[in-house]
Amino acid sequence: MNPDLRANELTLGYAKHVVVDRLSVELPPGRITVIVGANACGKSTLLAALARLLAPRSGSVTLDGKSIHSQPTRQVARSIGLLPQAPVAPAGITVVDLVTRGRSPHQTWWRQWSEEDERAVEGALAATSMGEHRNRPVDELSGGQRQRAWIAMAIAQDTPLLLLDEPTTFLDLAHQIDVLDLVVDLNRAEGKTVVMVLHDLNQACRYADHLIAMKDGQIVRQGAPGAIVDAPLIRDVFAVECEVGSDPVTSTPMIVPLGRHHQRASLPAS
């Protein structure tokens, strides 16, 4: 059921620029993995390679032992679902039309709407609570609803693996929590393996089973957030001084950054 996705000695780059250099990683099946790192550390590039959007210079990405770049792309699309950062829907497309297109890798030109397709689309609309908006154009929805519509498309694709590139960017706080809770639902209810890139460290620590911290195209540290996150790691990866406390709700690490104007020493003595 849960496919085994891993990168082996992966080197990635654009033009003459090497972004990721000989990186190897295993994505734990059935878990939520979150990749964090400063801008330009290669986290989105790594995700693109895991989704076979980017061909490796050397090394490979394997799914159950077979390279995803040498398999038919349609076949890979039945195992790996992908939601890129800030996708743009064509003007006027309705929610149900968008979600239906997620079934594409399961369809042929004569079989365009099987009972299985219908079940998957209805299931995806229900899981994202988008059923009531099904006939509304995507461009008329709020930011959070729009992102849920895209996630519904990825759910309808019905893949055991889901890759999300910054799914909460451009959303307000309530919608961020909404989307991340939905991701946990998918992981818990259906056992989907999730790999996502997040910007907010505290959210990453809360929602990740497995956290990967990247810097300069390398993995600095990986593991359960509680086991790996400390002030030296944050200093190394983000070049920021911080205090690491404990999240009052989940007891996962909570990062409080220090700035030039906000140091512990400057707080009034109690």
């Binding site: 792309t73 992908l82 996708p87 030109w109 079989r111 365009q112 709407w113 006939n135 154009p137 008329e140």
Partner: protein, 354 residues
Amino acid sequence: MTLSVAAGRVTYRVGRGAVSGVVALRAALLAVLLALAAFGLFVLSVATGDLALPLADVVPALVGGGDPATLFVVQELRLPRALVGLLVGVVFGLSGAVFQTMTRNPLAAPDMIGITAGAQVAVVGGIVLGWGAGRGTQALGLAGAFVAGIVVYLLSLGGGRGATGYRIILVGIGVSWACTSLTDYLLAKALPYQANQAIGWLFGSLAERGWHHVRPLALSAAVLVPVTVLLSRWLRTLQLGDTVAKGLGTPVGAVRFTLLIVGAGLAAFGTAAAGPILFVALVSPQIAQRLAGTPAPPLVGSALAGAVLVLAADLLSRYVLTDVGLPVGVVTGILGAPVLLWLLTRANRSGSGG
């Protein structure tokens, strides 16, 4: 087999969905209406001329019935013109729909991205340099359009990231201007009678079309139209952007190359038969999309809207503007632009405005 209708969509299923699909009612209805309109204009086109024929004689003559004189006028003189008009509208409309969907840009049409301009430079070059007036015109137009299409594709590949829709348009506009300048240069160099001949072709015309114009066009349409319809499955994912399309298992590079060849081929055969009837490929898909209320140009609707536009423009130039003698390519602009502008101004949803 089960049929069900919900929210303006008809779902059909044979077996447990082994053969199945969804058809948007409004788009299907539009296609039927446009097909009827195209047929009506087609019959009217055959009936119209120096010798006006009653419609009751035209329809039987189309299938080979009636008196020999009518039969001759219909089958040898009028039918080729009407058929070229119908088919040219179909291939231009479809070509525009392919390019606009593939690049996700309503400005993309063969006459904007250099393919028509390529045909123009080849044909005018042929006339001015003296190798290939007459029947050679068709072959030159075809070759020019294809070469331009391939040049646009190769140049837009740059940077190793593949030909994105945006690059195809920018490169296409560049190629288009280069070809137009070259055409202008050739026209400036041409002798008066050559320039006259070239300008007559440059406007696009359905006058004096014979079966030798119809045959290559009909044959290419018979191949390229079904191929385009088969590719429509990939167009549906390409509309979501390259990244999402790849994620959904679309071989984006190969599909885009095939679409470019098919779209250029449709435009090339149309231009070879009737000259560059400008604006049809740009405006027909937009008109069809707005009338059908779909997020992208509907293929069948765009093709039929093109046919209606060309046939109506040709009739208008012969019926109403008889003394002016305007070529059809001028009238399509006069006719198509107000329709599109009207549809744009009455679009109240943000969805149908783009």
